[in-house]
């Protein structure tokens, strides 16, 4: 089984029919990507290149126009509890307390009440929110909300965690502590994680591989394997980190320029 990727995308394209516009809109085109079992893959690319679209496809929330997406070798037919998503805007249910939010997926899974409560407490602890279980989302800080959202996705024990810029709305300190915590959780739980980010630093720090996408229609331009001899100390300050960052920055620079030119063209054609 070791040879089979956890998630495999083969020539995946997604075309949207935009209302009021004659021609269809190609968000991603011919994406090939393998995500290995238990790996932490980060995904970077210019804004609008189709990263979120790609994640929706893997989540089964939308269907591909062409190509196939395999999970453990079987085509994805829809959403399921074998994959959990964490959104940038948390997407917590405001009428549920932190604990009740974490229980949500377990309810969907049909786990009995007692076990549900137990599991929710465990995952609340795991994300370091012991004592905040009874709070409603609006009574929590942004960082705490995102911890709850992560706990909610972990609680129903999916094999794959799909994260769409989960830390983008947080301040630098909170972001760094959540990054560290996420790595710790990943090491403890052996989940396969696909993590979208705009931050090159974040991509290099978290990802064992970094997939760089082209401007729209998005494809995978290059996959950079990130390998540090040691992760002790201030990883971000080391020369290796700088090299990876520069390499990815160079890959992205041309794509961002292309994306901006494309946006101007689109705006121009409307004005």
């Amino acid at each position: 089984m070791s040879g089979q990727p956890k998630i495999a995308l083969r020539g995946v394209s997604k075309v949207f029919d935009v209302r009021g516009e004659g021609e269809p809109f190609t968000a991603i085109h011919g994406v090939d990507l393998d995500v290995r079992e238990g790996e932490f893959l980060t995904l970077v690319g210019p804004s609008g290149c189709g990263k979120s679209t790609l994640l929706d496809l893997i989540a089964g929330l939308t269907t591909a126009t062409a190509g196939e997406i395999l999970l453990d070798g079987a085509p994805i037919t829809g959403p399921g509890l074998d994959r959990g998503i964490v959104f940038q805007q948390y997407a917590l249910f405001p009428w549920r307390t932190a604990l009740a939010n974490i229980e949500f997926g377990l309810e969907a899974k049909g786990v009995p009440r007692r076990e549900r409560a137990e599991a929710a407490r465990r995952y609340l602890d795991l994300v370091g929110l012991n004592g905040f279980g009874g709070r409603y989302p609006h009574e929590l800080s942004g960082g705490m909300r995102q911890r709850v959202a992560i706990a909610r996705s972990l609680a129903f024990d999916p094999d794959v965690l799909l994260m769409d810029e989960p830390f983008a709305a947080l301040d630098a300190q909170t972001r760094e502590s959540l990054q560290e915590e996420l790595l710790r959780i990943w090491e403890q739980t052996n989940k396969t994680i696909v993590f979208i980010t705009h931050g090159i630093d974040e991509a290099v720090y978290l990802g064992r591989r970094v997939a760089v996408m082209t401007s729209r229609p998005g494809r995978v331009k290059e996959i950079v394997t990130v390998d540090f001899a040691s992760r002790e100390g201030d990883l971000r300050a080391g020369p290796r980190f700088g090299e990876y960052r520069h390499h990815i920055w160079t890959l992205l620079r041309d794509e961002v320029a292309a994306a901006q030119a494309d946006e101007r063209k689109v705006v121009g054609s409307h004005g």
């Binding site: 959403p79 998503i85 959104f87 405001p94």
Partner: protein, 291 residues
């Protein structure tokens, strides 16, 4: 007054500033730390400030007829209205009228809740139903309830049925429109999040759409509560033998002007209390709503 009984115009969910936020001087966490005496003084002065306008209004009501600015025959001084009110209470007459009125209001209001919420959920959730019923709803919501009163009387007669029906009709609109708005207004990201966890449409409705819509639905219920009292009076002015609307109309007809004002006062207080009760209920069910 006639304009306010139109159901359709007030369906927009209210913003927090739309009605005055009442202070609770004895319950704030910061207040408890301070000494009790100033807190009590503040509470009293708070009550005084808030009732100042009412006291002023009553004073004007008392004084104007007494100094002859208004004919006291048409505007009975407030103190005499209170006396008349006492008489009506003592004679047991008022209780009968209040009972008759409340029964009609609550029946119409309750039936409106029972009917409009399910219908609103259906319209809000199923596009085809909305497309089908949309134009009819648009037409009727712009027809004042009281304009239809003669029609109700013609078809349902002068008895209880037509009175309860017109109250039901007036109450149904805010509930219906708010329920539709509540269902439609659910954050799509929450729906997406729930869907990503493999919820079936039915469970999605039960676990996301319904709870998310509850505060908006309750706003509709509270508005309906107000309408149930507003429309009541008009309904009872036609062919009723009891009820506060009947009392007001009958007293005016027989030139028992103090009794008429006593009836008006009763209905105002009744409406106020009902609204306060529903406001409490609404708050209780929307504690999680921050904005």
């Amino acid at each position: 007054m006639a304009d306010r009984s139109r159901g359709g115009t007030v369906a927009v969910p209210e913003r927090p500033g739309a009605y005055p936020v009442r202070e609770r001087p004895d319950k704030g966490p910061g207040v408890r730390v301070r000494r009790a005496v100033p807190a009590a003084v503040r509470a009293v002065s708070g009550v005084a400030r808030k009732s100042a306008a009412i006291v002023l209004l009553l004073a004007v009501w008392e004084v104007l007829p007494r100094i002859g600015v208004v004919d006291p025959v048409f505007l009975t001084p407030f103190s005499e209205v209170v006396v008349a009110w006492g008489g009506l209470v003592a004679g047991g007459e008022l209780l009968d009228h209040v009972q008759a009125s409340l029964l009609r209001s609550l029946a119409g209001f309750g039936l409106a809740i029972a009917g409009a919420i399910p219908l609103g959920l259906l319209i809000g959730w199923y596009r085809p139903v909305a497309d089908f019923l949309g134009p009819v709803l648009e037409l009727f919501r712009n027809t004042a309830a009281l304009a239809l009163l003669p029609v109700f009387v013609l078809i349902l007669g002068l008895g209880e049925t037509s009175k309860i029906a017109i109250i039901l009709y007036a109450c149904a609109w805010p509930i219906l429109l708010n329920t539709i708005a509540g269902v439609r207004g659910v954050d799509p990201l929450l729906v997406k999040s729930a869907r990503s966890m493999g919820l079936t449409p039915l469970r999605l409705f039960q676990k996301v759409i319904l709870p998310a819509a509850v505060p908006t639905v309750f706003t509709g219920i509270r508005l309906a509560g107000a309408y149930s009292i507003l429309v009541l009076v008009a309904a009872e002015m036609v062919g009723a033998k009891a009820g506060l609307g009947y009392l007001i109309n009958y007293a005016q007809f027989n030139f028992r002007i103090p009794d008429m004002y006593a009836g008006i006062l009763t209905i105002s207080v009744l409406g106020l209390l009902f609204n306060l009760l529903l406001l409490r209920l609404e708050r209780h069910f929307s504690t999680w709503r921050t904005t």
